[in-house]
């Protein structure tokens, strides 16, 4: 760089800068990189979480890969990801466009919208568990038959509830992203379209949506990769049930590891989780034509 700008050679020894990065690097290596390597290593061992760790070759992998629970957990994870994406994306775009308007009341509405953003998944899940209770919940209290179903006790319904609560929690965040995106679309585009006699709907599809392309990629990446980590919400809401209906990968890992004391197989699941996350990030990056997860943010 210095040769490019022709500035004088630095007085300070260059070696100072890496030291500034050292504290972050040390903590990150100790509690993220080493664990990441460690999870691969642990997947080739047998460990009950308390006693000694024994190397056991492919035993854990064999157990996990032959367990019908795995394809099921993968399928549920994929379904939660896909359905919650399909529900959240149009809603977030619509609400983002709505919030991007400069009317005062929209800003006020925004204050309410963003409250879920501040709540813990545990609090949200607990409140919904109470609200959806078939006997004492909101629906039962209002004596409305349709609303007093056994929401968390039937597989299909429980899955729907998970998607709904996930959306309730995260749509605000994604609306915010789209709001920022919409506000950056040059106004002149709309003026030109108006002169050409394009209606609102037409403008939305021919200007707003194409202009939001990178925003869609950013938001989708965060949604999709984030959906791999819906642990607390589902854990508190359904514990993966009824049966295995909402047992996503992260939950499967926890249950095998910390409830069934099978840390080896649980680590194998964790490895799969890491690989799925990486694959998705790469895939979305391809789709976006540039590094969506990182460089989109990098523009900030």
């Amino acid at each position: 760089m210095s040769s490019l700008t022709g500035r004088p050679p630095r007085r300070e020894p260059r070696s100072v800068l890496p030291w500034l990065a050292a504290p972050a690097l040390v903590v990150f290596i100790a509690f993220a990189v080493i664990p990441l390597v460690g999870v691969f290593a642990l997947s080739f061992t047998t460990w009950d979480g308390i006693g000694a760790i024994h190397p056991s070759g492919l035993t854990s992998w064999r157990a996990v890969l032959t367990d019908p629970g795995l394809p099921h957990a993968l399928w549920v994870t994929f379904l939660v990801m896909a359905v919650s994406w399909a529900v959240q994306t149009p809603l977030s775009i619509l609400l983002g466009t709505f919030l991007a308007g400069r009317q005062r009341y929209r800003a006020v509405l925004g204050v309410v919208y963003f409250v879920p953003l501040t709540l813990s998944s545990a609090a949200i899940a607990i409140a919904y568990k109470a609200l959806l209770d078939p006997n004492f919940g909101l629906g039962a209290g209002l004596k409305i038959q349709v609303l007093s179903q056994d929401w968390l006790g039937r597989p299909g319904l429980a899955f729907g509830v998970v998607v709904f609560v996930v959306s309730w929690q995260f749509v605000p965040f994604h609306s915010l992203i789209y709001q920022g995106g919409v506000q950056q679309i040059p106004k002149s585009l709309y003026e030109a379209a108006q002169l050409d006699g394009a209606g609102r709907v037409r403008q939305f599809f021919s200007i707003t949506l194409p202009q939001l392309r990178y925003t869609v990629i950013t938001s989708s990446t965060l949604m999709v990769v984030g959906s791999l980590t819906f642990f607390d919400l589902i854990f508190v809401l359904t514990e993966g049930g009824p049966g295995d209906a909402t047992r996503v990968l992260a939950l499967d890992m926890y249950k095998r590891g910390f409830q069934a004391s099978l840390m080896g197989p649980a680590s194998a699941i964790a490895v799969i989780l890491v690989l799925v996350g990486l694959a998705l990030a790469l895939l979305l990056r391809r789709l976006g034509g540039r590094d969506a997860g990182a460089s989109q943010l990098e523009g900030a």
Binding site: V16, A24, L25, V27, G110, A123, A130, Q184, G299
Partner: protein
């Protein structure tokens, strides 16, 4: 003038910055779809919040008898008393200790690293460090909790608040470094140069120049990390055991397990654990929201 290869993107983003007059929505026809969605979503968000709040003020008997959406005619704070008596103040203290103990180092370390990465972009080491942090964004860090658990045990930290603090710092670093380095990059090059001419060290430049100029970003990152760590559930769940080490989300969960169908009490606990964050939200809303918009929507 370029500091990094990502510069062109930055230039392009700087352009459409000016505030748009309110004319766009108002001048055209009304956007019915968005308007409808807007009001519907208000109902979807507000009804559960409202229901939780008013229910938490009812006695258990009245709760079963009354219209669930009508506020109690004589609201009671008994549920809140029950929650407070269940040692929630202790859990609150734990949450504060963990959050402050993790957020402060996380932001300070991330800022130092962000500064180093931007200023030392020509150094291969720092580009590699940056790459490593970026990788942390693509990987669901929850997947590493089993080895984290092992490391914490081996360090003799199991069932301590420090056990929650250390991994929380690590998990917060990738996004913090990313956002902060983007803002450090926006600091005009000439300012750095003039600091150097004045004989300032990197350390001084970091705190006297870069930090004040990127304060909004530092604040946003602080609030965001504080929210994430305050609301964290998985780490306390697996790394602590004794009741007096519980943080609020975990305490909330065990409280719910204990009081099961006493919904008013459970919801009082929900409201109470949420209150500190809502107060913060009231003060830091503008900062958090504008920061998140700036950080994610380009």
């Amino acid at each position: 003038m370029t500091t990094t290869p990502t510069e062109p993107r930055r230039l392009q983003k700087a352009a459409p910055r000016e505030r748009q007059p309110p004319s766009r929505q108002a001048s055209g026809r009304r956007n019915w779809a968005a308007g409808l969605a807007g009001w519907l979503w208000l109902v979807v968000v507000a009804v559960p919040l409202y229901w939780a709040l008013i229910t938490s003020l009812k006695t258990q008997n009245r709760y079963y008898a009354s219209n669930p959406l009508a506020p109690s005619s004589d609201p009671t704070l008994d549920n809140y008393r029950l929650v407070v008596e269940s040692d929630f103040l202790g859990y609150l203290v734990n949450s504060v200790v963990v959050t402050v103990g993790a957020v402060v180092p996380a932001v300070v370390f991330s800022f130092m690293a962000a500064y180093a990465i931007v200023r030392g972009w020509r150094m291969r080491v720092l580009r590699a460090v940056n790459g490593l942090f970026l990788l942390g964004l693509a990987i669901p860090l929850q997947a590493t909790v089993i080895p984290v658990y092992l490391i914490i045990i081996r360090l003799g930290l199991y069932d301590s608040l420090l056990a929650l603090i250390l991994p929380s710092i690590a998990f917060a670093i990738p996004l913090s470094v990313l956002v902060l380095s983007n803002f450090v990059r926006d600091v005009p090059k000439e300012l750095f140069d003039s600091m150097r001419v004045d004989g300032a060290t990197e350390w001084t430049t970091l705190w006297r120049l870069a930090a004040p100029l990127t304060r909004p970003a530092i604040l946003t990152v602080t609030i965001f990390n504080a929210l994430t760590i305050w609301n964290g559930f998985l780490l306390p769940l697996i790394l602590t055991q004794s009741p007096d080490r519980r943080t609020l989300p975990l305490a909330l969960w065990t409280f719910q397990g204990q009081y099961g169908f006493n919904f008013p009490a459970v919801l009082a606990a929900v409201v109470l654990t949420t209150l500190p964050v809502l107060v913060l939200y009231a003060f830091g809303r503008r900062q958090l929201l504008s920061g998140l918009t700036a950080g994610f929507s380009r």
